[in-house]
């Protein structure tokens, strides 16, 4: 227990701090790197929640592909790499207030709704059982049985996005 809590605490702090830096840094590349940190922490959190496959996918796709995409985008859309001035726009304060307000509401609701509910299955269950239950195999089974149609739809969506991105960004 203590190890999980400690791990959670560390990961949470890292994620939050990194996220904050994403939205406040003046350097776009730094923002991308901080995003990597966030994504990594979130992946680690997945492991904590006994979702290994997801963690793997997170690292693979998010960090490995999406962030790379971001970096390509950054590269293509500004003349120089380095520090820019004024990446925030005029409605910072309004956005800040909105964010805070939103957080307040959400957290209040959450605390109100879930209270002290624990995650029972994750406490005290051995690894093998968990893995068998909600491990990669189980996820794979679920995808290709219960959620086959959404899976195929998402595939098509990916294809469409691919084609669309190419169409949009090609040079005439």
């Amino acid at each position: 227990m203590a190890a999980q809590n400690l791990a959670f605490a560390v990961l949470a702090v890292v994620a939050v701090l990194a996220a904050l830096r994403v939205v406040t840094t003046r350097n776009v590349v730094h923002a991308a790197l901080y995003l990597v940190a966030v994504l990594g922490s979130v992946g680690a959190l997945y492991v904590l929640l006994a979702a290994e496959f997801l963690a793997a996918v997170q690292v693979l796709i998010y960090i490995g592909a999406i962030v790379v995409l971001f970096l390509f985008g950054i590269m293509l859309t500004r003349p120089t790499l380095g520090r820019d001035s004024g990446l925030d726009n005029d409605q910072r304060w309004l956005a800040g207030i909105t964010g805070l307000f939103l957080f307040g509401v959400l957290s209040y609701v959450l605390v109100e709704a879930f209270g002290d509910e624990r995650l029972p299955r994750l406490e005290g269950l051995d690894r093998e059982a968990l893995t068998a239950e909600r491990g990669t195999g189980a996820v794979g089974d679920a995808i290709f049985s219960t959620y086959l149609v959404p899976f195929e739809v998402v595939s098509v969506l990916l294809l469409a996005a691919l084609v669309g991105a190419i169409v949009l960004a090609r040079r005439e």
């Binding site: 999980q4 006994a50 998010y62 910072r92 956005a95 605390v111 509910e117 624990r118 996005a161 949009l168």
Partner: protein, 102 residues
């Protein structure tokens, strides 16, 4: 572990992401903030899935998987659009994109 700790964490990340969407000038940074939001959502899904028994947990993971996939697609298209904007205006400052101004 409390389920709430994950959920609240998700809320925090969500709020930060909202702030980023509203406050950032660079289009790419806005997209990054959107990723933050999506990650927060994923955390919620998985945590709430883990609250239930096996099939629930699996469902949570599956949906989180789908979200990731869609996020990838969305980033691809989004960046293509940002690229176009950059090509047309030589800048990705979203404050300058006010053609719909009344």
């Amino acid at each position: 572990m409390l389920v709430n700790q994950f959920l609240v964490l998700g809320a925090v990340l969500f709020s930060i992401g909202v702030y980023g969407v509203l406050a950032r000038r660079n289009g790419v940074l806005v997209l990054m903030s959107i990723e933050l939001i999506l990650n927060a959502v994923n955390i919620n899904l998985v945590a709430l899935g883990a609250l239930h028994d096996a099939s629930g947990a699996v469902t949570g993971q599956v949906f989180a998987l789908f979200v990731i996939t869609i996020a990838a697609a969305e980033v691809g298209v989004g960046l293509a659009i940002v690229l176009l904007i950059y090509r047309n205006r030589a800048s990705v400052d979203l404050d300058e994109v006010d053609l719909m101004k009344g």
